[in-house]
Amino acid sequence: MTGDPRSDGELIAGLPRRPELMGVLYERHAPAVFRYLARRAGPPAAEDLLSEVFIAALSASSRFTAHDSGSALPWLYGIGLNVLHRHFRQPQPAASVTPDRGMDWDAVDDRLDAWAERGRLRAALSALTDSDRELLLLVGWEGLSQTEAATALGISPGAARVRLHRARKRVLSTLEKQGPGGPDPQVTTLYAKEQAS
């Protein structure tokens, strides 16, 4: 990727005076941030939003401290989530899509090989709140540690640990109840109602 020997923390520390260092962070992390966005919004939208994340990070960097050997990725994912929220608030071309603040579920379904699995993940995760779901996916999809995921979401790490633990168990129990078939319609309906309120 980039041969720059400086750590993310060093680069971020230098950003207030040298914003062009964000370019080094871009070279280093754009592929991962793209995957983060693509998993939630699909690759076409991800390509459009990629630069927005780094531009927003530029504005926010004066408040951020990364550890010397820490990665900037949790921070960039946290900004990515807010960029996604803004994206999903805009009118979507496909009006049939269930509005969801952080996820294009059709894009997620497209990645599941088995037809029977489509909708299952969605139904199981829709039983969670946005932040619990994001916590789960930052660990499951992005491979962050619990602390890093908490960092990305701006919640306390200890609370995140308990939340993640509980969220996982509850989703598992939903999946077991669902069986191998499709989503539980009741869960989906309740979720839509909750989102609408």
């Binding site: 550890h67 010397d68 921070w75 803004r86 308990v162």
Partner: protein
């Protein structure tokens, strides 16, 4: 692999970014950098200056807080991480440090106006103690037993159960992503099978979307919100097993009878921690239950007695947290460090190292003892856990950092309580 991990894993595969997409993104970023350099240069200068001034501010506030603790002041107005620093260094050396002009080359704490550098490397003193973890748990069990029998520490029990509608826990945490802001989390676990979570940020995040976006506080975020956790059953949990309130209340409080239940429950849905030895998993099960679930005083005693059986727990030392509360820091495997108050068996603090800094640097200053420096991913303080009949409320006043340590004891449920339900 369990069905959840299978679904998550199969849905994680996405194509990589195209060369073209990468280049277009870079071009857009470069345009923004160029535009920002023209327009925002004075602001950036200010920010660098403030940063330097803030470091001094932090030190002074920290020292003042230690004095306040020593004087027995009831109100401590101090973000958590500062006190860790303050409790470590003599005031003089710390002030001297802050007069050294920092270089921008290395990452430095970038305190917010409140003086807090959340998630920055925290330094604290550990008083070494030569006891075993089993001894600490035994002492904590004794403490919990004693707290149970004293009038001020007792929770009115109906049918052996705390008498109220909700089990209400309050935690405060700092994390690396958002310096200057303390996240207050509240959870109301309802007797009727509900669970409401409130996340609320306190501190001095500058207003405006551009800044709050890095704190997860942008529009549409859950950083400041109160919400029910969803539409699936919830309730008190041990390991992976969800109990109804009544079932949980009926769990045996004889440690020998409770132990096999802990062993069974701790393996339910163990996949997220696959590869983790059983002993670690049992430790996590007990700690998480102590931290978050409606544990009756008698059950707390039993859980702590059972924790004595777990092998591989190391005693880190005697630890004083930023509210002046002292406990014993314990660590199991490579997981977090927990601080347990042996006087009443409560978990005080949970310290999470960043992955890259699981090992801490230990030095031996001249005065004896050890000084430990770690870059933490964050620290969480367990502020209170008690029964309540008050409904979850978004604007419920939170006891942010203004607590006397005694607040950690269970408090009696309010009058007019709901009686023995479920």
């Amino acid at each position: 692999m369990n069905p959840l991990d299978h679904l998550i894993s199969s849905s994680s595969r996405v194509p990589g970014v195209t060369e073209d997409g990468l280049e277009r993104g870079r071009a857009a970023l470069d345009r923004a950098i160029a535009a920002g350099a023209r327009q925002e240069s004075p602001a950036r200068q200010r920010s660098a200056t403030h940063w330097f001034g803030g470091l001094r501010g932090k030190t002074v506030i920290g020292v003042a807080a230690v004095a306040a603790v020593a004087a027995g002041a009831a109100v401590i107005v101090l973000p958590s991480s500062s006190a860790h620093t303050a409790s470590t260094h003599p005031a003089g050396s710390r002030l001297a440090d802050s007069s050294v002009k920092p270089t921008l080359k290395a990452p430095q704490p970038k305190p917010s106006p409140s003086g807090q550098a959340a998630g920055s490397p925290m330094t604290y003193s550990i008083t070494p103690i030569s006891v075993t973890a089993a001894y600490v748990f035994a002492q904590a069990a004794k403490g919990a037993q004693a707290a149970q029998s004293t009038p001020e520490g007792s929770v009115p029990l109906v049918g052996g159960w705390p008498n109220g509608l909700y089990w209400h826990t309050v935690t405060e945490g700092t994390n690396t992503g958002c310096p200057g802001v303390v996240g207050v989390s509240q959870v109301w676990l309802g007797k009727s099978g509900s669970e409401v979570v409130s996340n609320h940020q306190q501190g001095s995040a500058p207003a405006g979307e551009k800044n709050s976006i890095a704190c997860g506080g942008g529009p549409g975020s859950n950083a400041n919100s109160t919400y029910p956790v969803g539409n699936v059953p919830t309730g008190p949990m041990i390991g992976g097993k969800i109990y109804t309130w009544a079932q949980f209340a009926a769990l045996p409080t004889d440690p020998a009878v409770l132990w096999p239940i802990l062993q069974d429950d701790s393996t339910v849905g163990v996949a997220p921690y696959k590869g983790v030895p059983e002993q670690d998993w049992l430790y996590q099960t007990i700690i998480i239950t102590l931290e978050s679930d409606p544990v009756s005083p008698a059950m707390r005693v039993a859980l702590l007695k059972d924790a004595e059986r777990i092998s591989g727990v190391t005693v880190v030392g005697k630890y004083t947290d930023s509210l002046g509360r002292t406990g014993i820091a314990l660590r199991q495997g490579s997981s977090d460090t927990q601080v347990i108050d042996t006087s009443d068996g409560q978990v005080l603090t949970d310290i999470q190292p960043t992955p890259a800094h699981q090992g801490c640097t230990v030095t031996h200053p001249q005065g004896g003892g050890t000084e430990t420096s770690c870059a933490f991913g964050g620290a969480t303080l367990f502020i209170s856990a008690d029964v309540t009949n008050s409904e979850p409320h978004v604007n419920q006043p939170t006891p942010h950092l203004s607590l006397a340590p005694s607040h950690l004891s269970p408090v009696p449920s309010p009058s007019g309580s709901a009686g023995a339900q479920g």
